[in-house]
């Protein structure tokens, strides 16, 4: 493997990892707080990309795409709240909530995917890059400025998420709800509001991943399906209910995927990733970064 090839694989690994981390942290947050798995999470990536595209068309393409992304985040938070209200809320207290919400979130996925098709049509679209041009470092590696922004901004967003969850009172209340709903209620925490906030936050993170992705590749309504599967691997691999583990796993899986693609090609890479996950889970049931004994309450 030449140095050139190595650096380009490393870079594509970093870009992939960043997108997976954004996607998986939202998925993990919803799982930890609400105890459900959201199958509509991947399609939110497409929704985020299309909404960004729509906003940039409406306000005019002369404006920097960052403004459209900022507005999209607001839309995604609201959409997340609506999805929680429609797909999840009616089933709280149902003892089969995990299974029921598999179906309702799959319904949401179908509805949103077809909705995108109906609203924006089948024609492929692409978002402009966040920053034009290329960056070259000592002639060793060259990457687009857009990729550089993804690599730098994604970890910043995730650090922000980490600080929010661990150091702000609202973030702590979200973690509390995930660990013991009854105790959270008795402390005066509004559990429904925490759920809405969590869903909105997860939708926004995914929307950002979508907007980043839309500047890299062509957009289509199913653009989130494959990343959702990867995010699922990342979340389980990182240890369920552990945001830092999820983020670490996202980077590990991203690099692993980039190197696998280089060495064995696109065809077998997803299968090998799954094999790798199963192999790890056989020896570490709690995931790679999960704590060995999670207390259930």
């Amino acid at each position: 493997m030449s140095l050139d090839a190595f650096t380009s694989v490393l870079l594509s690994g970093l870009v992939l990892s960043s997108l997976y981390a954004l996607l998986a942290s939202g998925l993990s947050l919803v799982w930890t707080t609400l105890g459900i798995f959201n199958f509509a999470h991947g399609v939110l990536m497409a929704v985020g990309a299309y909404v960004t595209w729509q906003i940039s068309q409406s306000i005019g393409e002369t404006y920097w795409i960052g403004y459209s992304i900022a507005l999209m985040i607001v839309v995604m938070v609201m959409l997340g709240a609506v999805l929680e209200y429609v797909l999840i809320r009616p089933f709280y207290g149902n003892k089969n909530i995990v299974l029921v919400t598999v179906m309702t979130t799959l319904a949401g996925l179908t509805f949103l995917e077809n909705g995108i098709q109906a609203v924006w049509g089948p024609r492929l679209k692409q978002l402009p890059p966040l920053i034009d041009g290329n960056i070259s470092i000592h002639g060793l590696l060259t990457l687009s400025a857009h990729e550089a922004v993804i690599i730098v901004v994604s970890p910043l967003i995730l650090i922000g998420l980490y600080y929010f969850l661990n150091y702000s009172i609202i973030g702590k209340s979200i973690r509390a709800v995930g660990q013991n709903q009854k105790a959270a209620k008795l402390m005066g925490i509004n559990v429904s509001r925490s759920f809405i906030l969590t869903f909105g936050l997860a939708a926004a993170l995914t929307g950002i991943a979508g907007a980043f992705y839309g500047g890299l590749r062509l957009m289509n309504p199913t653009m989130g399906s494959e990343p959702l599967v990867k995010a699922l691997i990342v979340v389980i691999f990182g240890g369920l209910g552990n945001i830092s583990g999820t983020i670490a796993a996202a980077y590990l899986i991203g690099f692993l995927e980039a190197f696998l693609i280089y060495f064995i090609g696109l065809y077998w890479t997803p299968s090998l990733l799954f094999l790798f996950m199963i192999f790890v889970l056989i020896f570490r049931h709690e995931g790679l970064f999960g704590e060995s004994a999670r207390t259930t309450t």
Binding site: I169, K172, S173, R175, A176, Q179, N180, K182, A183, A184, K185, L186, M187, G188, I189, N190, E291, R294, T295, T297
Partner: protein, 245 residues
């Protein structure tokens, strides 16, 4: 501020078709403390979970400080100063003692007092000071119970409901809880203490209510009546308790 702090009238509640409370009524004045006792499974926990908004009542009324809170949400009730420390609460396994205490001050009315309330919590429960960075799941039963009480105090309660604070504790640890609970009483917080351990209850409250089959079947005011432990036990078990040896 009205003289009366809490009034419960004809409260009925249960789980689905299964009714647990059959018309419970009692009241509590500001600054007063009462104790609830009674056998397991007769509705003590259901009663207080209904009062704190975790379970919806099917009939009856709950008035706190002149406001009807019968249909209020649990967070609104805590915000008003009615704080319920639940039985055997495991709190948040992956959070540190300090984080839990900070969350205890989640209600808006208590956020400004975070600092002074933290100092008060650590002075009442010095053992928590050393464990402030430990996660809840590593605490011993006694420490967890102390954290539960301390967390209740963080919310600036006007009425604190303590549901079986001695559950699962050794006699020595129970003894250790008497002083902090009487400290709480002396700080002007009204207290409803729910206990199976009558000895413990008699150390801390003057007025006792016996909850039996979802009804209050006996009210004892120890200030006006001279009631012995033995008499209460007879009432409790329905027969004279004698030690044959």
């Amino acid at each position: 501020m009205t003289e009366e702090l809490l009034r419960v009238e004809g409260l009925e509640a249960g789980y689905g078709a299964y009714k647990v409370l059959h018309g419970v009524s009692f009241d509590l004045s500001n600054g007063q403390n009462i104790g609830f006792f009674g056998p397991n499974g007769h509705g003590k926990t259901t009663l207080f979970e209904t009062i704190s908004g975790l379970i919806r009542q099917t009939a009856g009324k709950i008035i706190f400080d002149g406001t009807d809170i019968t249909n209020a949400s649990s967070d609104a009730i805590v915000e008003m100063g009615l704080v319920h420390v639940a039985q055997g609460n495991t709190l948040f396994p992956d959070m540190t003692v300090m984080e839990v205490l900070q969350l205890g001050a989640f209600p808006k009315r208590s956020r400004q007092k975070l600092r002074s309330n933290l100092d008060r919590a650590f002075s009442i429960f010095p053992r928590l000071t050393a464990r402030r960075s430990s996660k809840c799941k590593t605490l011993s039963g006694g420490e967890r119970q102390m954290l539960n009480l301390a967390t209740g105090l963080m919310a600036c309660p006007r009425l604190l409901i303590l549901d079986e604070p001695t559950l699962g504790l050794s006699p020595r640890l129970k003894e250790e809880l008497v002083r902090p609970i009487s400290d709480i009483e002396n700080s002007g917080v009204s207290l409803i203490l729910v206990e199976q351990d009558l000895e413990f209850l008699l150390l801390l409250v003057q007025r006792l209510l016996l909850l039996n089959h979802g009804r209050i079947t006996k009210r004892i005011d120890r200030q006006s009546e001279q009631v012995s432990h033995q008499e209460i036990m007879e009432e409790y078990f329905g027969v004279a308790v004698t030690h044959e040896s």
